[in-house]
Amino acid sequence: MIPAQFDYIAPGSVEEAISALAEHGDDAKVLAGGQSLLPILRMRLNAPGFVIDLGRIGELQGITEEGDTLVIGAMTTYAAVLASEAVGTHAALLSKAIQTVADPQIRHRGTIGGALVHADPAGDVGAPALALGAEFVIAGPGGSTRTVAGDDFFEDLFTTAVGEGELLTQIRVPKHTGWGAHYEKFVRVSHQWSIVGIAATVRSEGGSIAEARVGLTNMGSTPLRARAVEDALVGQPATDEAVRAAVASVAEGTNPPSDLNGDSDYRKHLATVLTRRAVLAAAGA
């Protein structure tokens, strides 16, 4: 199938893009890498009158370092994030998760910002971004910008703090230099969406866990951060037994979906198994 007819707008700057959004309001859709939006348009799940393509806005692409923070432009492709030595060194968890996204062709086009704003709960970028304590810079009308903390960014299924007339412009990731990282994704076929995914990054000291961050994919309507498990892991030796006990409650308070891939209870069980594996791998055990 082909999409319904729309008018195409390709602004050259964030300012122009915001103006186009203001003009066309909810009859417009923003096109980032298009790897989720184009299938949606083709299947006619959405039929906007206008598509605003951010692909020609150079200022939204690229990765820079500002002191203890990595600044990733919203239109940076998955492939560019994977190719970044800075991300590999200072936010390895992001690289590990993005390696599992879809397939190479999709990773060449798909963007980190597009994925975050699309906010599919089975997408693999939200959980590591939350676990790393990322902040999200959002541009609005009149040159305004605001910064939203991770916990306030994801609001519900396919819904984020990015409002109508606004654009996500940057993801700011605090450096986690020297932290081990692992993303444990459970799927039936290789380029499927996560049935459950666990993002874990760990700072080790002398064989035990000094600090840990854990994010959960597809365990509810938004990505989640498992703070109780993070606290329980502090000071534990990186052994199967100790980690198993510390992560046992990871599914408490979550509300994962039931679908053809498994019911809610199955996902809760999976989460405990995958979290143990992810934490142990992140700790190098």
Binding site: I2, G34, H191
Partner: protein
Amino acid sequence: MSRITVIVDGVSYTDEVEPRTLLVHYLRETVGKTGTVVGCDTSNCGACTVHLDGTSVKSCNVLAVQADGHEVTTIEGLSENGELHPVQKAFHECHALQCGYCTPGMIMQACDVLKNNPNPSEQEIREGLEGNLCRCTGYHNIVKAVQQAAGELSSQAVSS
């Protein structure tokens, strides 16, 4: 309608297209590059894989207007002076096809894999081709062909 200029297999084309036109339909129906096929039409199967500015993409998942000002290589642009590209030759020699429908996309993606990793392991080849489905399940000979092409390309690199 939007006016776009795209270099396809080394030739520049300027055309009026509807913004909703998918790149794969532009290539097949306007430019006439029917070597690139539509498989699943849901961005899963990879049969429509082409190179956009030298990088593999699924052309059913890109709008033609997004390719404006860019360069596309299809399966029809791989051979040089009537000589098959080493990956095409290896697919032929290793019988890396059964019905042949996935072959254009498989070859384009195999070229991308080898560009980034000239000497891939079997596992790396399989992971590099994870977005390309062969419904005849003929993966074994496809992997063998990519291995043979890797050897051919690296010996070319040494001798040149």
